[in-house]
Symmetry: C2
């Protein structure tokens, strides 16, 4: 049997580790025991180490020479640095997306937005989360800028390190939905400038919600 996608083992391992990190099963600051993990996955240390190199380049782990590998700890300062950056980048995405979007693309976006609406109506948080991600992803793809896309995705990976990040949507589901409605409307109206600003503010609004949560639970971000 010929495998369609002959992905290397180190890539699969990297992906599994990413998931464990994002799920906070591997919490920031924890040391990664190479031989224990290798044994656990039933592989040798070689592909595992290669996977760790990749994750280090993505900023998810830190490789201290002769000291081992540690899951990256993200600080409040990092969040303050990354969110405005993301706001600018995703704002740009929205503007470009509007300029490139064919009517079919807009229809597809509206379809995704409809799922967001229904998920919000039923209080299905997971589905809302899912549709939200999908919406942003589609906008980014519509921008047609491969590098803009990759920069955003890299930064989002780092954001996912924060425990608060995954929770931030829950507290402001209605507000997020409202913002999405406005963005969707601007896109449908082909108003690139407005879409850019709305998307930009949408991201910053997310940061603020996160800051409020942070104030309540004064543990490290």
């Amino acid at each position: 049997m010929t495998r369609i996608a002959p992905t290397a083992l180190y890539q699969e391992v990297a992906e599994r580790l990413r998931q464990r990190i994002f799920a906070h099963e591997l919490t920031p600051g924890t040391w990664i025991d190479e031989q224990k993990l290798a044994e656990q996955y039933g592989i040798s240390r070689t592909p595992l180490r290669e996977a760790l190199k990749v994750l280090a380049s993505e900023g998810l782990v830190e490789l201290r020479p002769r000291r081992g590998c540690y899951v990256t700890e993200i600080s409040r300062q990092d969040l303050d640095d990354i969110f405005p950056l993301m706001a600018m980048l995703e704002g740009r995405c929205a503007a470009e997306a509007v300029r490139n979007a064919k009517s079919g693309d807009i229809a597809a976006l509206q379809d995704i937005h409809a799922r967001l609406e229904s998920a919000a109506r039923d209080g299905r948080i997971d589905a809302f989360f899912e549709a939200n991600q999908e919406f942003h992803k589609r906008i980014q793809e519509l921008s047609g800028n491969r590098w803009l896309l990759s920069v955003i995705q890299d930064l989002r990976k780092v954001l996912k390190l924060s425990r608060l990040h995954s929770l931030s949507l829950e507290g402001r589901l209605q507000q997020s939905l409202d913002e999405h409605r406005l963005i969707m409307a601007a896109v449908a109206a082909s108003d690139a400038t407005k879409a850019e600003k709305l998307m930009h503010d949408h991201l910053l609004s997310g940061r603020e919600a996160l800051a409020r949560m942070d104030a309540k639970t004064p543990k490290a971000a």
Copy 2:
């Protein structure tokens, strides 16, 4: 003797490979022979392979499963995608830098700018190139945003893949100098908005010069 920076072998190898790629000694599209390189460096394939994983994450090489490693080929489209992005990012840097800069920082920048002026006066292209890089780097550091910095540096690495990139400054040395003068003035005057716009246009201007060169030499970028 205790080594201050006990950098791992794979990091040194990665850096050496980066230099060879940037120097276009390893040209885009060429296949990287692992065992030949390992032999050449007098090391085993293991750290070399780890280094290649890192370079792949940076986008400098492409790892095709079971097919080997190839130096990334960058297209005209990629340049068109990256430059506006860089313009936006470096523009933001300039704005933030102005907001954060103490008088000492501005003095240091003016010092670097003076080196740029003198290099231009004497037609010392290498020195101009050097001072130019230094200037941009200082601005980026002054922005105080670690992530903005890393995103820009990652993208710049990719830009360096293009042969034209290193040549682009030569043809427009005077224009580049003029633009730098304006930027320096805006920074000195603490005009963040103007600095942002000037830096932004400075980058785009670089792209256009590159496009003109590209038109003359119609080989692949």
